[in-house]
Amino acid sequence: MSDHHAPGAAAAQEEHEEHEHPSWKQYKWVALILLVITVVEVWVYYTPFAKSPYFNPFLITMSAVKFGIVVQMYMHLKYDHKLFRALFFGPLLIAMFTVTALLFLFHQLPPLF
């Protein structure tokens, strides 16, 4: 199966990765984006939009974006071995499913039907 990576191949692949490894230039942009999103989030909190039904979904989307950026760039999951992606996103998926299910069960989310 393709799951096997012989070490030689892996080494070669990583050398390749090294190349793509984000640099200071990217890092600083990433930091800036994170910062801007956070500022927007907090700002929105104080605007009338905070009363809108879209406020919570908006915030959750924003923080999901931040979450994704940090994981992909700073934790270099985007550039790393795909195994790590599986090790992280698999459990994350199950965890998010569990949270959602629990919130439904305790009526913290509107009922499905």
Binding site: H4, A6, P7, G8, L83, I94, F97, F104, F106, P111
Partner: protein, 640 residues
């Protein structure tokens, strides 16, 4: 005994697996996965007997209506500890014994990824197990059932120390399971021999791999649930305090988010063992290997979506009941695939009925019954008549005893020659099997009836004339027979260690790597790491006619960087690690002290409850210092 391999020239220095380096201290400091596996095996068997004795007393009490062998309070402690012991101290560690012993051997590794962490896991398990078990001797054992529903466990309703031992004990045991799981995940991902692709791994390793993921994902949920309870009991938080408006279902959900994956943690290793035994004794490869892998993964994943089927009586509402019911039923499909693939594995084979094989077949027969009653539970309206009755008790003993225990017993018969270099007595084993098979059904089958005829579970006594007498008497007689049968096993096990017939490398004519090295294996396992070219390397080597039709592919020679790797062969010579120039991890006591530190640290909490705050602080800080100190010493000293 049918063997296909010639006896090896190799003779170990001594046969207890310790290679000259024996004695108490060598066991305390060992980091060898095989010895740790052995420790797990003995400890878990001990706890299995403890749990069995607890069950025996319970059945003695329930043999007749209105009888009074033990008090109500004692009975409640007994069933709580019976469940807790069997689940956390017997079956899980029995599985861990096999993880430890077998995974490195099956994937062609010299040890696990973190040998010292492995020792640490064992010591935490042992000490935590004693911590939670000993109170029963002083009549202060946990008494809220193995799933300890809040608010019964809150200080308001359980003021004594009983629940303290439970919440702390389980917390400690969780540490052990988690540490071990990280270790095995890394081991399986990283330490496979060249050519041992994931889809060439033996089925036991595969199922263990799935189990490790269940462990790392299920245990956090109970850890948090227990943290809340611990805080409630010691620091005055309100998580389960009904007066503050707490919702008792919070505990139930968190517990079962853990609890249901937990039952698959208990069964999948047994499934793995059976998947090793059946092919060997049918002289056929496992039928539908890929599908067996996927169904195992499916069971694991779906297992996270069914937890609330334990809560069909709590009033979750029709929608939630329906969804959980449907997902629960779905699990029957991949499990059924396993059952049929096992039967297909035997189909057209040459079946040898060794003791191990009998237990494996027993698992198929008995687990099916438990699985079917599980599907009966999965229908919520029907389950409202079944939940919390003996029908449930029947269900889970069929899957736990008929499944996990049968599989593990089969595994012990099967791997005993590898571990000790000697066979267990087949004659006693046959007796053991048939008595267990009969007694098991005699004990647990009548529970289906007593349950459907209205008998609630967890009752220390019941009134006469309710229509339950004969079923209970049958169950109790069955238990007596079960104890007798288990004694035969214990005798066989102990006797055969020294007196069993000698076993060669390949005791049964199996296909996988662990059988290519001496029995018991040398401490470094493989003098030379084999290069694997198929799923059944040893059959390739010894019975090429069996595997002729399969495509083989060696890993690219370029990619084999391990200087010890050589093409697959059977090892017949014994040399020390030194002679071979294989670096071995140093034995060390540090993991033991780190584990001890954890236990001491947690024990301090008990004194908070006794209102001895200063003592509590002193003990906790002492434990923490011991823990941190040992950890620091451990992390800064070289491994090998």
């Amino acid at each position: 005994m049918a063997t296909t391999a010639a006896a090896p020239k190799f003779q170990p220095v001594n046969t207890d697996g310790s290679y000259g380096e024996s004695g108490f201290w060598s066991w305390m400091t060992t980091v060898d996965h095989k010895r740790i596996g052995t420790l797990y095996l003995y400890t878990a068997l001990f706890f299995f007997i403890v749990g069995g004795i607890e069950a025996g007393i319970m059945r003695w009490q329930l043999a007749l209506p209105n009888s009074h062998v033990v008090s109500a309070q004692m009975y409640n402690q007994l069933f709580t500890m019976h469940g807790t012991t069997m689940v956390f101290l017997a079956i899980m560690p029995l599985s861990a014994a096999f993880f430890n012993y077998l995974i490195p051997l099956q994937i062609g590794a010299r040890d696990v990824a973190f040998p010292r962490l492995n020792a640490f896991s064992y010591w935490v398990y042992l000490l935590g197990g004693l911590f939670i078990s000993i109170p029963i001797l002083f009549k202060t054992a946990p008494d809220a059932g193995w799933f300890g529903y809040a608010p019964l466990t809150t200080p308001q309703f359980s003021g004594g120390l009983n629940i303290d031992f439970w919440v702390i004990g389980l917390q400690i045991l969780g540490i052990s399971s988690l540490a071990a799981a990280f270790n095995f995940i890394t081991t399986i991902i990283n330490l496979r021999a060249p050519g041992m692709t994931l889809m060439r791994m033996p089925m036991f390793t595969w199922m263990s791999f799935v189990v490790q993921f269940l462990l790392i994902l299920a245990f956090p949920a109970i850890t948090i649930a227990l943290v809340f309870l611990l805080f409630d009991r010691f620091f005055g938080t309100q998580f389960y305090e009904i007066a503050s408006g707490a919702d008792p279902l919070l505990w139930q959900h968190l517990f079962w988010v853990f609890g249901h994956p937990e039952v698959y943690i208990l069964i999948l290793p047994a499934f793995g063992l059976v998947s090793e035994i059946l092919p060997t004794f049918s002289k056929k490869p496992l039928f539908g290997y890929n599908v067996m892998v996927y169904s195992g993964i499916m069971i694991g994943v779906l297992g996270f979506g069914v937890w609330a089927h334990h809560m069909f009586a709590v009033g979750m509402g029709a929608v939630a009941d329906s969804i959980f019911s449907l997902v629960t039923m779905l699990i029957g499909i991949p499990t059924g695939v396993k059952i049929f693939n096992w039967i297909a594995t035997m189909w057209a084979g040459e079946i040898r009925f060794t003791a191990a094989m009998k237990f494996a077949i027993g698992l198929i027969a008995l687990f099916t019954i438990g699985g079917i009653s599980g599907v009966m539970h999965s229908s919520p309206p029907a389950d409202t008549q079944q939940t919390d009755t003996y029908f449930v008790v029947a269900h889970f003993h069929y899957v736990l005893f008929g499944g996990s225990i049968m599989g593990i017993l089969g595994g012990i018969y099967y791997y005993f020659p590898k571990m000790t270099g000697r066979y267990m007595s087949e004659k006693l084993g046959t007796w053991h099997f048939w008595l267990t098979f009969i007694a098991m059904n005699l004990t647990f089958f009548p529970m289906h009836f007593s349950g459907l005829l209205g008998m609630p579970r967890r009752v220390y006594t019941y009134d006469a004339g309710q229509g339950w007498e004969k079923f209970n008497l049958a169950s109790s007689l069955g238990t007596a027979l079960l104890i007798f049968a288990t004694s035969l096993f214990v005798i066989n096990f102990l006797w055969s260690r020294k007196n069993g017939a000698k076993a060669p490398n390949d005791a049964w004519g199996a296909a996988t790597l662990e059988w290519s090295i001496p029995s018991p294996p040398p401490d470094y396992n493989f003098a030379q790491i084999p290069i694997v070219t198929s799923r059944s390397p040893l059959w390739d080597l010894k019975h090429p006619e069996m595997t002729a039709g399969i495509a083989h592919s060696s890993p690219d020679a370029m990619t084999i960087t391990d200087s010890h790797a050589v093409p697959m062969h059977e090892e017949t010579e014994y040399k020390t690690a030194k002679e071979l120039g294989i670096p071995m991890p140093f034995p060390t006591i540090k993991p033991f002290f780190a584990a001890l530190g954890i236990i001491v640290m947690f024990s301090g909490l008990i004194f908070i409850h006794l209102d001895k705050f200063a003592i509590a602080m002193a003990i906790t800080i002492g434990g923490a210092v011991l823990l941190v100190g040992s950890l620091y010493a451990w992390l800064t000293s070289p491994l090998e």
